[in-house]
């Protein structure tokens, strides 16, 4: 019998499931500590975060925490592996598009003219691993929205597995990571458009026993600006919100970071994502804007 706890964190929901009910309180403590650490390192919406300090000091080296260094490494690796489709230098593009506050504080309609510009490019980010320190040129602003939450899920799941009896499933706003042994049959997961919509919402249910699972969707975090509808998934090549060929993409991978990189890149790549995901043998479920569903690699058919 599994047990779970759920609370609000990082502007979304956090949830931890355990196979040993007696470990639930400790599991929550471990996850909360990890979330506090990742928020202090990578939040775009608090002035004292490493990321905010780097963005506020273009052209000079800014000393950062080891966790921020890890997050930079993950973000730049994601950019390289996706040939720039998931690029951490979209910070300015997000801000210009109107996503300049924590989403809970964001008004539904942003007024004023919007000028889109391509992301400057991840190759401009410099890292001094020894200090550690990071430097970005003027005009470059970092955003780790595509990788930091997934990194936190992976780290929290690993930390729980190391510290607790039994297994855990960590769920940060729909980014899932498995740690330790799974319950018999795996962890049941409803895959849908909105992580907050509840288990009964339209979608499919699968069970995972290892690694991570992440979903990206343009059905959530939407607002209007002076140029029309906007959402939080930016195409770095143009600086515009990505096209909406896919409404929602879910990917299972070896860990949550990998799953989130792939699901985000798939949203940006549009129709070409099918072949790309298949070439990587990543089980994925993709839903078009009109609701058609495509399954890739070993993503299972709906259970009878």
């Amino acid at each position: 019998m599994t047990a779970s706890a759920r609370w609000q964190a990082l502007g979304t929901s956090a949830e931890v499931f355990v196979t040993d009910e007696g470990e639930l309180a400790r599991a929550r403590q471990v996850v909360e500590a990890e979330l506090e650490a990742i928020d202090l390192a990578c939040s775009r919406f608090r002035d004292d975060s490493d990321l905010a300090r780097v963005n506020a000091g273009p052209g000079r080296w800014v000393e950062v925490s080891p966790l921020f260094l890890e997050a930079v490494h993950v973000a730049l690796g994601a950019a390289r592996a996706t040939e720039g489709d998931v690029d951490p230098t979209i910070g300015r593009a997000l801000r210009v598009a109107g996503y300049d506050l924590d989403f809970a504080e964001l008004p539904a309609l942003r007024t004023g003219r919007v000028t889109f510009a391509p992301a400057p490019g991840w190759r401009l980010v410099q890292v001094d691993r020894a200090r550690p320190a990071v430097r970005v040129p003027r005009g470059v602003e970092l955003d780790f929205g595509a990788t930091a939450k997934a990194l936190a899920a992976d780290r929290a799941a690993s930390a729980c597995a190391a510290a607790l009896r039994g297994g855990v499933l960590v769920n940060l706003g729909g980014d899932l990571a498995v740690g330790g042994p799974s319950p018999e049959g795996g962890w049941d997961v409803r895959v849908t458009d909105d992580h907050a919509a509840g288990f009964g919402s339209p979608g499919e249910t699968v069970a995972i026993s290892c690694g991570g699972l992440a979903t990206s969707s343009v059905a959530v975090r939407r607002w209007r600006n002076g140029s029309g509808d906007a959402h939080h998934i930016i195409d770095p090549a143009s600086g515009h919100p990505a096209g909406e060929f896919w409404r929602t993409v879910s990917v299972a991978a070896a860990n949550c970071v990998a799953a989130n990189i792939a699901s985000t890149a798939a949203m940006v790549r549009g129709a070409a994502a099918l072949q790309w995901l298949d070439s990587l043998r990543l089980p994925a479920r993709l839903v078009t804007a009109d609701g058609s569903v495509a399954r890739v690699a070993d993503w299972p058919a709906v259970a009878a």
Binding site: D188, D193, H195, R221, A253, L280, P283
Partner: protein
């Protein structure tokens, strides 16, 4: 005389554009490392995108399987 004036405009314009381009590049490119720094540009250890993809974006050891459960976690956009 008029041709000379046009030529001067063209030359002046070219110089101005070159200056603007230089300024833009100096803002867009990485600045020099400080003397004595061991700073390095991040270069992933693997040379090819396909190799990096295979290592960084790897599939799960066991793929998901279909389930008929009525409760559990929810994965969706956030």
């Amino acid at each position: 005389m008029r041709a000379g004036r046009i030529k001067r405009w063209l030359v002046g314009g070219a110089v101005a554009l070159a200056g603007l381009f230089s300024a833009a590049v100096s803002n867009a490119m990485p600045v020099d490392d400080p003397p004595g720094s061991d700073a390095v540009l991040v270069k992933p250890a693997l040379g090819h995108t396909s190799e990096l993809q295979a290592s960084l974006i790897a599939p799960p050891a066991t793929p998901p399987r279909a389930s008929t459960a009525s409760r559990g976690a929810v994965s969706g956009g956030s």
